[in-house]
Every structure is written in C-alpha cells, then in structure tokens.
C-alpha cells in the first residue's frame, strides 16, 4: 500500500515521490486508490504547471521567454550537452544548472548627453523565485545582446552598475540606497553578446535568499567619432535592449547530476560485474556449471 511504500522508501527517494501539494494530478499520475499522487518524473514534473483533471496539453498559461534569451540558452545547451542530451564531460563546466531571467520591469532614465558618449541608464527588477535553496551560485552575469547588423564605427563602452536595495516605501523604481560603480571596456563592434560579470554584487544577495534584485545599469559608450551624431546615438539605444540576468548554479539536490559524484561512484565500484564464486554454488550447481563453461570457453 502507498503507506508501506512510503515507509519502505529511503528518505533520499521519498523526496522524489512527494506529491505536489495542491495539484490535482491527472489519472496518469494518480492511479486509482493511491492515496498520494506520485510525481513519476520528479524533477521534470515539478516544473509542470499544476493540472486539474484535464489532459496535459491544456497547460496553465506560461509566460513566453524573450527570443534573444531563448537563442542564447539554446546555444549554451549545444555547448554543454550532446544531441541526445548527455552532459559533455567538460572539466571547466562545474555548473549543473543555468538560469536566465529577463527583467520584469524597468524604468528608463534618459539622461542628457554628459560626455562625448551617450548615457543610457535603466533600473531593472529581477525576480529570482525559481532559484531553490539547494542551488548555490557559482557565477552571475548581465547578458547584453547587441544588434550588430546596425552599421557602426568601433566604439568602446564603459558600464556603471549599481545594485539597489528595495525599501517598502519605494515605487517600482527604487531610490538608490547603495551603489557600486565599476567600469568595463569592451569593443561593441565584434560581439553579439556581452557578458558583464556581476557575481561579486549578487553573491551576498543570493546567499541571503533575496528574491527581488533591483539594479541600475548605465552605459557610457564613447563612439569612435567624438561628435555625437543622432545616427550613432540611435545605434546605442537600439543596441542596448534591457539585459538578462544569467545565474550559473550548482544544484546540490539528489536529482541533479554531480560530475564529481559520478567519478567517485565509478571509483567506488571498480570493474563491474565482479567475477565471484558464490557460497551456494554446490546447491545450485553453479560451481560445476561454471567449470564446465570455463572449460568449454
């Protein structure tokens, strides 16, 4: 009975069988008479929208991701796994989870043109509810995609980043409570994606399980031609679509694949299956059979 099955199941597996609390699982997953619905494909099903008794294709509405973000993640998938979906044995790639968040709201402050370049500043709000407590941050980057089809002379951009605290009184665009600026030079012309490492900023926030991250990011892009002309300004505004936030994580849960664990597992069980004579050979005639077989071989 389900009860005995629960008690017999080691705790590492019972977590996999935990039923999503408030979901009405379809008959496929909840066989007749079973008290608790079991997630048959635990990790994959946990991300399934909770269903009533309908069939699967009437899924709960799902926000559609940004197409650029989707393109980037498909590229990351191709680099990390084979066509059959087997993770590549890549020593440098310690992560087993990568999450990409697009900002859920932004307030664009267009400043006047301070220097030769164009200052483009946005306040961004990222909601990190999907990050679980067992997912530990390895690295996080702001991901800018540039529309390189726009003709431009070479330009270098300097990025100023300030992370904001959210206080209850503030509107969607929070007031700056503490900001740390850092500059990063990169050539826009050559790249389609630019990753700006913000790990040091986000580490403390994610470690304290912060769910909402407010950021103000501004770019000063010094064009090759000092005289700011409207065409190039358009380029920068067009190129700087709001960035996505990329988190490289190490999921420490049982279901996640741990490279080091699989290496350790193989070391623990050397040549498998082991050749072994069993104490019951005479009863089952195994010894005699084995000898005859060996001779025959």
């Amino acid at each position: 009975s389900p009860h005995s099955r629960d008690s017999a199941v080691p705790d590492r597996i019972s977590g996999l069988l935990a039923a999503p609390e408030d979901s009405e699982l379809t008959p496929l997953l909840r066989p007749k008479g079973v008290r608790r619905g079991y997630a048959l494909l635990p990790p994959l099903l946990k991300v399934l929208p909770h269903q009533g008794q309908q069939n699967w294709d009437s899924e709960a509405p799902r926000l559609q991701p940004d197409s650029r973000a989707l393109r980037y993640m498909k590229r990351l998938y191709k680099m990390s796994a084979t066509k059959e979906g087997i993770p590549k044995a890549n020593k440098s790639h310690l992560y087993n989870t990568v999450r990409l968040f697009t900002p859920c709201s932004e307030c664009k402050h267009s400043h006047s043109d301070l220097m030769k370049g164009d200052l483009h500043s946005v306040d961004l709000l990222f909601n990190l509810d999907r990050v679980t407590a067992l997912e530990h941050l390895l690295k996080s980057v702001l991901l800018y995609s540039f529309d390189t089809s726009v003709p431009t002379s070479s330009s270098t951009c300097v990025c100023h980043l300030s992370v904001k605290e959210h206080d209850s009184s503030s509107q969607v665009c929070p007031s700056v409570s503490h900001s740390v600026a850092f500059s990063l030079h990169f050539e826009v012309r050559k790249r389609k994606w630019v990753e700006i490492d913000v790990t040091s900023f986000l580490q403390p926030l994610i470690a304290t399980n912060r769910r909402n991250i407010h950021m103000a990011v501004n770019f000063t892009c010094l064009m090759g031609d000092p005289r700011p002309n409207t065409k190039q300004n358009d380029f920068i505004n067009m190129a700087l679509v709001p960035p996505s936030l990329l988190l490289y994580l190490n999921d420490t849960s049982e279901q996640a694949y741990h490279r080091w664990n699989s290496l350790r597992h193989r070391r623990k069980n050397p040549a498998w299956p082991r050749q072994r004579s069993s104490p019951f050979a005479d009863v089952t005639g195994d010894e005699g059979r084995e000898n005859t077989q060996l001779k025959r071989a």
Binding site: L44, V47, L48, P49, N55, W56, D57, A60, R62, L63, Q64, P65, A69, L70, M73, K74, L76, Y77, S80, A81, E84, G85, I86, P87, N96, T97, V98, R99, L100, F101, T102, N127, D129, R130, D251, E254, Q255, A256, Y257, H258, N261, S262, W272, P273, R274, Q275, R276, S277, S278, P279, F280, A281, V283, T284, D286, R289, E290, T292, Q293, R296
Partner: protein, 135 residues
C-alpha cells in the same frame, strides 16, 4: 590401466546414445534473458515540447527479461539474489523471483521554460538506464 579400462567398458551397460542437444540446452541462455532494451520518445508525443525546449528526443531505455537461476557471475548480482531464487524455488513460491532492473544510469541535460518565463538549463541524474541487473 588399459586392462582396467577395458574391464570397465565390458561391465558398463550400454548407455542409450545421449542426446547432445539436450545436454547443451542447459547451458543456453534463456530466450528472453534480462537485458537492456531501447525506447525512444519525443517530448512532443507527451505534448511537453512547449516547455521542454531540448533535447527533442529522449531514450530512457529499460530492462526486461527473465533472470537466470545462476546470476552470480553474469549480472554482478549480490549473493542475496541467489538466496531469493532458492527461497522461491524450494521454500515459498509466494516470494517473488529476482527481477530484471536497471543497475546503472547516465544523466540527461534538459532546457525548459519555467512558468514565470525564465529559462533553465538543468542536468538531471539517473535519467537513462545503461546497465541491467537481477535483484
């Protein structure tokens, strides 16, 4: 020794010609012995391709077949398997025979869209059976 052997031969009753095929039958592997079987599914069949972006196809494989009585040396089975088989054969047939189950797996990388629209790349453990055993 030759005299003794001839003596033995004269005494030994003529045994019926032994049917060799009968003799070798006991060494043949059972027809449907426990082994790994391939199975390929695409997430579109389950209508999950709207939120599982990659891979398009997935081969979980599965183990099926009878466990031979003597499994010690072929499946890396623990001695308990033989004990269980003995119990089933000699003591209590209500105790189940050893079953053909996966012994090792390989992971799978999955790219999915989360309900909030974010995108996640995840590597899951134990998603593809790669070896079978009798337990």
């Amino acid at each position: 020794s030759r005299r003794r052997r001839d003596g033995n031969l004269k005494e030994a009753p003529a045994t019926p010609p032994y049917n060799l095929s009968e003799y070798f039958k006991q060494f043949l592997f059972p027809q449907n012995e426990c082994e790994l079987h391939s199975f390929r599914l695409s997430f579109s069949q389950l209508k999950w391709d709207r939120w599982i972006i990659a891979p398009h196809r997935y081969s979980p494989q599965y183990c099926k077949g009878d466990c031979p009585r003597v499994v010690g040396h072929r499946y890396g089975s623990p001695v308990h398997t033989m004990v269980q088989n003995l119990i089933y054969e000699k003591l209590d047939p209500s105790v189940p025979k050893p079953s053909c189950v996966p012994a090792e797996y390989s992971p799978l990388s999955v790219l999915t869209i989360e309900p909030d629209g974010s995108i996640v790349y995840k590597e899951y453990e134990d998603m593809i059976a790669t070896k079978c055993t009798c337990r």
